[in-house]
């Protein structure tokens, strides 16, 4: 795939053009100093110097709550789908988060497509910004999701000393480069070399958190993890569900109806497999009544070979958000460590 160079003084010009072409979602700093992926309206709003965003990209493709159907229950029942479609460019988002979207693609695509997710996904373009320095909770190197990627993005941007190196990863990314050729020049070999140097240096900046994914995958796949591991994790976990909501690849949802006027709407909401009521049936029978059973099911779905096979890869991208969000010690890093030790 092609690589281009965008001089520093032309970055804002290109971002300005993107803003005129589509809704642009980019890292944006709020008053507290935290960074969220949010719609931006001017190039100056993009927080190029951020490390990680508080939330992943999931909510832009799978909103926390969305209306899927509208129905009227008057004389004759009428049901209509509610689909949202608009062009969106995700700019300067992290590679772990782009990888998270790729996992969601496998879950919501496939033989039976989820039309709500796919309508948004088809009109989304992902321009990632490679990380030069890991944040303290990061372990994307363990998750095979960064800090630099070889593919999976539409474009990957790397901030070099004099400007951006732009690597193209898809037809969509190429079309975008083609449309703005006047701002770009083909990348020079020394610019590519500079990127490789930065990538190498970035890998040396990881902190104390890691994830023993290979060990966990083997033991989960073969059901070799002793029950005590899950019981111990259950002692720590407070079942807040925070890890699932912050996770770029957790995508469980539930569906409810809400009455409105002489009809109503059917909505879907994020759900969490850690909640006691998650699998409970109307009869009261709960196949995962024990907290430890729910933790085992969650990590099996995340990391087992069986599910990795189905989704094309395991479902941890090493963004570290569960580490930040966990009120206890039951996040991915802690769990894989516990599984490894048995």
């Amino acid at each position: 795939m092609n690589a281009y160079f965008l001089p520093r003084d032309r970055v804002d010009e290109l971002v300005g053009r993107l803003l005129r072409a589509a809704e642009v979602i980019a890292p944006k700093r709020v008053e507290t100093g935290d960074v969220f992926y949010s719609p931006v309206s001017s190039p100056g709003e993009v927080a190029w110097d951020y490390k990680t965003a508080v939330e992943p990209l999931k909510r832009f493709l799978l909103p926390q709550q969305e209306t899927v159907l509208r129905f009227s229950t008057g004389e004759k029942l009428r049901v209509e789908p509610v689909l949202e479609e608009k062009d969106r460019i995700f700019l300067a988002v992290r590679n772990c988060d782009v990888t998270g979207v790729n996992v969601l693609d496998a879950m919501f695509g496939g033989e039976i497509e989820d039309p709500y997710y796919m309508a948004r996904r088809r009109r989304a373009t992902f321009i990632s910004l490679a990380c030069l320095e890991a944040d303290e909770q990061c372990f994307c190197v363990c998750g095979d999701a960064g800090p630099f990627l070889k593919n999976g993005y539409d474009q990957q941007w790397t901030p070099l000393a004099e400007g951006m190196l732009i690597e193209v990863g898809s037809d969509k990314g190429q079309a975008l480069a083609d449309a703005h050729q006047d701002l770009l020049s083909p990348a020079e070999p020394d610019q590519v070399a500079e990127k490789l140097q930065l990538a190498k240096r970035a890998e040396e900046t990881f902190g104390e958190f890691r994830s023993y994914i290979a060990a966990a995958m083997r033991r989960l796949t073969l059901a070799e993890t002793p029950d005590e591991v899950w019981e111990r994790l259950a002692d720590h976990c407070v079942e807040c569900g925070g890890c699932t909501f912050l996770c770029p690849t957790c995508s469980c949802f539930t569906v409810t109806d809400r009455l409105e006027g002489d009809g109503g709407v059917r909505e879907r909401h994020w759900d969490a497999c850690l909640y006691n009521c998650y699998a409970r049936e109307a009869s009261g029978h709960n196949p995962r009544a024990e907290h430890s059973q729910r933790l085992r099911a969650r990590f099996f779905h995340k990391l087992s070979h069986q599910w990795a096979q189905r989704n094309g890869r395991h479902a941890c991208v090493g963004c570290g958000r569960c580490v930040v969000g966990c009120q206890a010690w039951a996040h991915m890093s802690a769990a894989t460590e516990a599984i490894r030790r048995g």
């Binding site: 029942l77 039976i112 039309p115 699998a279 109307a282 196949p287 099911a297």
Partner: protein, 276 residues
């Protein structure tokens, strides 16, 4: 792009109380064109919408042959089933499906066919019983063993009576607790297995009922010599979407809604090893 979450509208044609808390509903699509696409196989399920109350999964309980409507048999338990029980003939519901896999039929031709049902577990077996009986020339014998808690819990009472007098089918009933007027067998459904006289090496068994009943019956069947691939059951979970997206029905490495609901005992054992 077709929308797998968009239900087709159907109207309730018939409401038939089965027991004090269980009722069968006959549903027919308002748009007759839907039926051509719908044509289900025994073992498949549907997601039924009672708009305003929500959506829930139900197995189809009627014959897959010779009809242009279908039945579901519903126990009044949760929000959706209570709303459904309050509906009468002419009321409209939403239907998504047919969903999931189905019972093997051609694959088990030439065998003795045994059905073991407990309580409402007879409902998913009924389309298969009717289909096997319709094609009875292809099978060595057909036996239906059905048990419920009390005589008042037996569903399809009129049909059971008919089945007991049919040529080419053996149908035995039992209840856990008898009562006035019950002259039949008393005991759990597994106690009827002693009536099975055919060569289990040439047989296939379809089992459905409450989880505890399945567990004991399957244990007995294995002891009798049934092969792990010849014991076939249908599982239920809290299936929200029915198409492998919401993840609620995951058991081990399977989606009950997509990979099932029909599984062999060999498959169920592998799932139980991953997620006991």
């Amino acid at each position: 792009m077709s929308n797998p979450y968009l239900p087709d509208i159907a109207t309730i044609q018939r409401v038939k109380p089965e027991t004090y808390d269980t009722t069968s509903f006959t549903l027919k699509f308002d748009d007759p064109g839907v039926w051509e696409r719908f044509r289900f196989r025994p073992g498949q399920f549907v997601e039924i919408s009672v708009f305003g109350a929500g959506e829930a999964p139900f197995c189809i309980s009627s014959s897959a042959h010779g009809r242009e409507d279908f039945d579901i048999t519903v126990r009044r338990l949760g929000r959706v089933t209570q709303a459904l029980h309050a509906m009468g003939e002419g009321a409209q519901v939403g239907v998504r499906g047919p969903l999931g896999n189905s019972f093997p039929l051609d694959e088990v031709a030439g065998k003795h066919v045994l059905f073991v049902g407990g309580g409402l577990g007879l409902a998913p077996l009924r389309p298969q019983i009717l289909e096997v009986y319709r094609q009875r020339d292809k099978f060595q014998s057909i036996t239906v063993l059905y048990g419920a808690r009390t005589p008042d819990d037996l569903i399809y009472r009129d049909e059971l009576e008919q089945w007991q007098n049919l040529e080419g089918m053996r149908c035995l009933l039992t209840v856990d607790v008898g009562g006035d007027g019950w002259t039949g067998n008393v005991g759990v459904v597994g106690s009827l297995l002693s009536e099975v006289k055919f060569d289990v090496g040439q047989a296939v068994v379809f089992v459905c009922g409450p989880p505890i009943m399945i567990r004991f019956v399957v244990r007995d069947l294995v002891a009798m010599g049934f092969g792990e691939d010849d014991i076939i059951s249908t599982l239920e979970r809290h299936m929200r979407c029915g198409i492998g997206k919401c993840n609620h029905c995951i058991h081990g490495d399977k989606y009950i809604c997509l990979d099932g609901p029909v599984f062999t005992y060999r498959q169920m054992k592998a799932m139980m090893e991953l997620e006991p």
